[in-house]
Symmetry: C2
Subunit: 452 residues, 2 copies
């Protein structure tokens, strides 16, 4: 019962360490936080050193990959732990009940940007490692590979793994960057959506003009942009980009049947979780199928013209939209980028000059969950939760996963978050109960992998 | 030749005073510049006091109306001078060659926000007043009514004139807030467009959501907004708001014929002035008719979601657009607001919660230019420019003009700006040559009105 002893004895210290880790605003999407990303990496490396590993920072001064190895135990299998210490921007700041980088515990949850995505989950694996090594050598060889650019396309880690592919040589890869299906329902992920994130820019004039003098003849960049964007998706949710659905395969009847067994109340989901008057999307498909197994197109924000306080009567010369598509197995980010670019140019009025920047992308992932490490994680969850793990998909993307699989190790995609953790949104949180479940489950996973 | 002497002798002093006036960032659209607006009003009042008038500030602490009267000369007619000391915001700041509130003279132009709209033009009338009064009592009674909210709807002045309508009792109202038709072509304006400026806000979710987890079911506020905006105008420029064109009358055949006599090169206009690959708007109508005699609909800017640097994968809960319509004679701002509101609600998807805020409005103006003061301004321009004034319209709006006419005085709408002055845009300027022409023309106008 070494793990339970750790949970009991190190509770306060561990939560203080988690607080310190969450306190660092390691926002990778914003260059002004480069130093904070470095600081978070260094903090984690120091902590892993203190836990008996040998840690180094690799590949970048600003967003290094944290690499740490446990003391080698010959003859034991190796588990590679992947996670990320970078976080999404916290804005809109005014919607946070407590500041995003001042972790606050309320009702058994810790509220902070990164609490669930992914610093809190990474730290539960680190604590699990500490738990199983407190009274001796590790039951399994563990390598930590914790990056700082998950939210921006994993460039540094991608370069590193292209140069040094042997780093992913392992018997299993463990990724905890997701959530339970529902409270009490641990999940294994059989597929992740990919992403193709682009910025579309429209220019119609040399410079902004006065709408009184030129309104009626001067082409308005926002007008051109909204006309293009408004035609990229039909009101029924179908994306209007030729060729986009060619690679899309419907999940098997068996998979869809299994999903129907999952507890799901559409009304509660819509009202409590989504918070909308109606759900959108393609008719005849369940919400789970729409979010897990169909591509989507989203507009994230539009810039240009006059957006400050007050009223300015300007005809904007330039307008830009940040947009992304989520992709499902067999789609490819680069192919979708080409399809989007072609469609946007077709829809553009002749007076508009269009550019499309590919910001970042990730191919989707599909996993075969029959290998031995999956048995270990299933057993670990069964012991801790007294419930069978369910096999589901995720609508989110973890861009690096395809590369993690190149060494041939099965990639175990799981998580100890909960569906209402509000990742990427204000008031992100992690249940502390879930955090400690993570320590127990991942600790048992290490032990079971060592014995396998 | 008192005016010429003034121009010759006071040249340097007058331009230094103009510089001081333009230097005050009296941006009325932004509350953080309230003090600057007050400062500009006080500066102008002090200056008018120094020029022999009795000046006071009326109606508001932050955006007062400057009211100044010349020493009363019994038996002489009265000219009411209307103008405004407030200016548009200067953004985007990075497109200015020199800072907007550090007036800079280059190639005979002064570059500054407000140079032509309207501080520079107001100051040319003030200088004209100084020119004709330097050697004695004024040839005509002059009242200055210079407001600080022309760019935001003239609330303070509107209230003042509703309380004290006698302030507009005069024999003529002089407004110089426009430009020549072309260099060397002075203009009298027979009509102004009105405006209806609104902000449309769409809410689809309680709060922003992660596009990975909820993309496919969660309604995106930007998607709803662009779909609405994209349908408010057809690609051929016709605004799709039922009833909008009912009050619109085509200009008379005679007026359109007169416009065809004006020098106009569509290619030069498009390339040099508009700076676009093509002109937009309703087919079969000339660019002058489109900008002077047809309503238009413009999107000025869109907020909501994620617009900072980097890439955030958020489904926006709220999106807002600042939009405005320019209106032509017989349309009414309040009617158009109702029509727009109705149409936006019709176009909104059922899951979207819509609100429309009326930000400000102005009814269009149509003037009969046969009264005696028009003869005076025509003669003044003829003497200075050696060319007949042309009667044209303006696509812009001066919200207060209908109220200025309530005393029965003819409203002379003219201007000494040039069409390329870039008002409301970066690098706004005023030709100093035009400024001095204004001093001469308005000086002669005062003299001729006094003798009429």
């Amino acid at each position: 019962m070494t793990i339970e002893n750790f949970v009991h004895e190190s509770n306060k210290t561990t939560l203080e360490q988690l607080d310190a880790f969450l306190r660092i605003p390691s926002i990778s999407t914003s260059p002004q936080h480069d130093r904070d990303c470095r600081k978070a990496a260094q903090w984690l490396a120091d902590h892993l050193d203190g836990a008996g590993c040998t840690a180094t920072l690799l590949g970048s001064d600003t967003h290094p990959v944290v690499w740490a190895e446990s003391p080698h135990v010959p003859g034991r299998p190796t588990v590679l732990v992947y996670g990320h210490y970078d976080v999404q921007p916290p804005d809109p700041l005014d919607l946070w009940d407590t500041p995003p980088f001042e972790p606050t515990v309320r009702d058994g949850n810790v509220y902070a940007r990164g609490a669930t995505d992914d610093k809190g989950q990474v730290f539960s694996i680190v604590a699990a490692y500490q738990a199983v090594t407190r009274s001796g050598s590790p039951p399994v060889n563990v390598k930590f590979l914790i990056e700082g650019q998950e939210e921006t396309g994993s460039e540094v880690l991608t370069d590193l793994l292209h140069r040094e592919p042997q780093r992913v040589a392992a018997d299993a890869v463990l990724v905890s960057d997701s959530s339970y299906y529902a409270p009490g329902w641990p999940a294994l992920y059989t597929a992740l959506r990919g992403i193709c994130y682009c910025e579309i820019t429209v220019r119609t004039l040399k410079s902004d003009l006065h709408s009184g003098l030129y309104g009626g003849v001067a082409p308005n960049a926002h007008e051109a942009l909204v006309r293009i964007l408004g035609q990229l998706k039909s009101p029924n949710g179908r994306i209007r980009i030729p060729g986009l659905y060619e690679a899309v395969e419907r999940p098997s009847a068996a998979e869809r049947k299994a999903w129907k067994q999952l507890p799901f109340n559409e009304r509660t989901y819509r009202q409590r979780e989504v918070g909308a008057k109606a759900l959108t999307g393609i008719a005849g498909r369940t919400p789970l199928e729409r979010t897990w197994a169909l591509p989507t197109f989203e507009i994230h924000g539009i810039t240009g013209g006059f957006t400050a306080e007050g009223a300015k009567t300007v005809i904007p010369a330039v307008a830009s939209a940040k947009v992304s598509l989520r992709l499902v197995p067999r789609q490819r980010a680069k192919t979708v980028e080409r399809q989007l670019r072609k469609r946007v140019k077709e829809l553009a009025p002749p007076y508009a000059q269009i550019s499309l920047d590919f910001v970042h992308g990730a191919d989707p992932v599909q996993a075969d969950v029959t290998a031995p490490p999956f048995d270990c994680i299933r057993r670990a969850f069964r012991e801790v939760e007294r419930r069978e793990v369910v096999s589901i998909r995720s609508g989110g993307s973890i861009p690096i996963v395809p590369l993690l699989a190149t060494g041939g190790a099965p990639v175990v995609l799981t998580g100890v978050g909960l569906p209402d953790d509000r990742l990427h949104a204000p008031n992100e949180k992690l249940s502390l109960d879930q955090f400690w479940k993570g320590v127990r489950v991942f600790g048992r996973f290490f032990e079971l992998m060592g014995a396998s």
